[in-house]
């Protein structure tokens, strides 16, 4: 009785030792296998389709008379280098040029008044000329060279640099009288319309009150 009890005990102890050894030897690979499986399954999940349906497309009423365009050639150089000790891990270089277009003219939503005077004369009150847009023209891009080692160049990297320059370009355009030219051309257009409609003389003044035009 005691003997069989002792034999059972020994067997049980052997089993426990065996189990412990198995766990020690196999647990780590088993754990890694499970983690990998979870990650793989998560990675296999199909991403939902992205469309513009959720994005808003909207229509906006305008009354713009763009009359002058200044085109600036912007030459952009970007570089980025990353080193780990003496090893270069990232080396990016890019040189390209792009046209930045400044458009000036009148925003007639600010108001416009036509006052017919005697003997074929008219007085037109116009708003001041404004910069209507400053935008990079993608069609004019010329890329001279690109080097992408370690990491690719992304779109916002160079757009940030183009946008950083826009304020200087706007200022330069104003210094070069873009607003004066825009106003003169707008006056010319309005004068032509009124001449053709039978007005011999058209005089211009700056509109006093701003508000809904047209």
């Amino acid at each position: 009785m005691i003997k069989s009890f002792l034999l059972d005990r020994i067997k049980l102890t052997d089993k426990i030792v065996l189990m412990k050894r198995l766990l020690k030897e196999k647990a780590l690979p088993l754990f890694i296998f499970m983690i990998c499986t979870i990650f793989l399954l998560a990675g296999c999940e199909r991403a939902s389709r992205i469309t513009a349906e959720g994005l808003e497309s909207r229509i906006k009423e305008l009354l713009e008379l763009p009359t002058v365009q200044y085109i600036y050639r912007d030459i952009v150089y970007l570089s980025e280098e990353e080193r780990f000790l003496i090893f270069t891990t990232v080396d990016k270089r890019l040189l390209f040029s792009v046209n930045v277009v400044v458009v000036a003219g009148l925003d007639l939503k600010e108001g416009i008044n036509v006052i017919p005077l005697q003997r074929g004369r008219a007085r037109v009150e116009l708003p001041p000329a404004r910069i209507l847009s400053v935008d990079a023209d993608e069609g004019s891009i010329e890329q001279y060279f690109v080097k992408e080692r370690g990491r690719a160049i992304s779109r916002l990297e160079y757009y940030d640099e183009i946008n950083r320059k826009k304020e200087d370009i706007r200022r330069d355009a104003i210094e070069r009288n873009i607003l004066f030219k825009a106003e003169e051309n707008a006056k010319k257009l309005v004068r032509n319309f009124l001449h053709l409609a039978g007005f011999d003389e058209v005089e211009f003044a700056r509109i006093k009150m701003t508000g809904e035009g047209g």
Partner: protein, 251 residues
């Protein structure tokens, strides 16, 4: 053992950690306190961005924009059919089947994405939200309104009846006056960025521009532009003393 040796060993035991700590402290505080850049970092990063912009051209433009359409499109997914259908279209293209224009565009876009390593329907699921600002109105360049002397008979464009009450205006057909892709910045664009060089970005925009304009025109932008333009000119000439304005269009 000599007692002097014991003292030296004790001194070393205290001094070495103290020196190490002083060294670490100096290394940490050297930049903020003494403005000394020791640069013992394992990883070093250098970035440079230079740009010079010079005026290359000044041009007169004569157009009258009356409406703007802000169009958002997700590239490439808005220009591709559903994934299952895309592979059918690609198979047909391989077999040389004549495809309708939208399927031809899908094949072109798919091949373009593959060529520039943009992952679609797999791995990174690259995409970019393109915001197009499309303006429409009347292009007055080269018309009698830009230069009345350009035509021998300007009356063909503007006619006034005898008592100066009715004005007949001949206008160019409404058209797209401006097409601009909004420039994104890292502060305004909140979606993930895509790896693309400027040259490939230009190609991408070239690929989709015509399609976006077609979609905007299908939404009726030109008709809205015509209505808005007529409304404005009607009020303008009413103020000038005309009672009725009749619009006719070229072509």
């Amino acid at each position: 053992m000599v007692p002097g040796g014991k003292i030296t060993r004790k001194l070393l035991l205290y001094c070495i950690p103290l020196l190490i700590m002083l060294g670490i402290g100096f290394f940490i505080l050297s930049k903020p306190l003494f403005n000394i850049d020791l640069d013992f970092s394992l990883i070093r990063r250098e970035q440079r961005a230079v740009s010079v912009a010079l005026l290359s051209e000044a041009r007169e433009i004569f157009s009258f924009s009356t409406v703007e359409f802000v169009y958002n499109a997700v590239f490439p997914y808005d220009f591709l059919p559903e994934e299952e259908r895309l592979y059918i279209v690609l198979d047909k293209a391989k077999e040389g089947v004549d495809l309708p224009p939208e399927d031809r565009l899908a094949v072109e876009i798919f091949n373009f994405c593959r060529e520039i390593n943009l992952n679609i329907y797999e791995k990174a699921y690259h995409f970019v939200v393109i915001t197009a600002l499309v303006k429409a109105g009347f292009d007055l360049e080269g018309t009698v309104y830009e230069n009345p002397a350009s035509l021998e008979n300007p009356e063909e464009y503007v006619r006034i009846n005898r008592d100066r009450r009715i004005l007949k205006l001949k206008m160019p057909e409404p058209s797209i006056t401006s097409f601009v892709i909004q420039d994104s910045t890292s502060s305004s664009y909140k979606y993930p960025d895509i790896p693309i060089t400027p040259y490939n970005w230009k190609r991408l925009i070239d690929l989709v521009s015509e399609n976006i304009i077609d979609r905007v025109e299908e939404e009726g932008i030109l008709e809205v532009a015509r209505r808005r333009g007529e409304k404005f000119l009607e009020r303008f000439f009413n103020d000038a003393g005309f009672e009725k304005i009749i619009f006719v269009y070229e072509g």
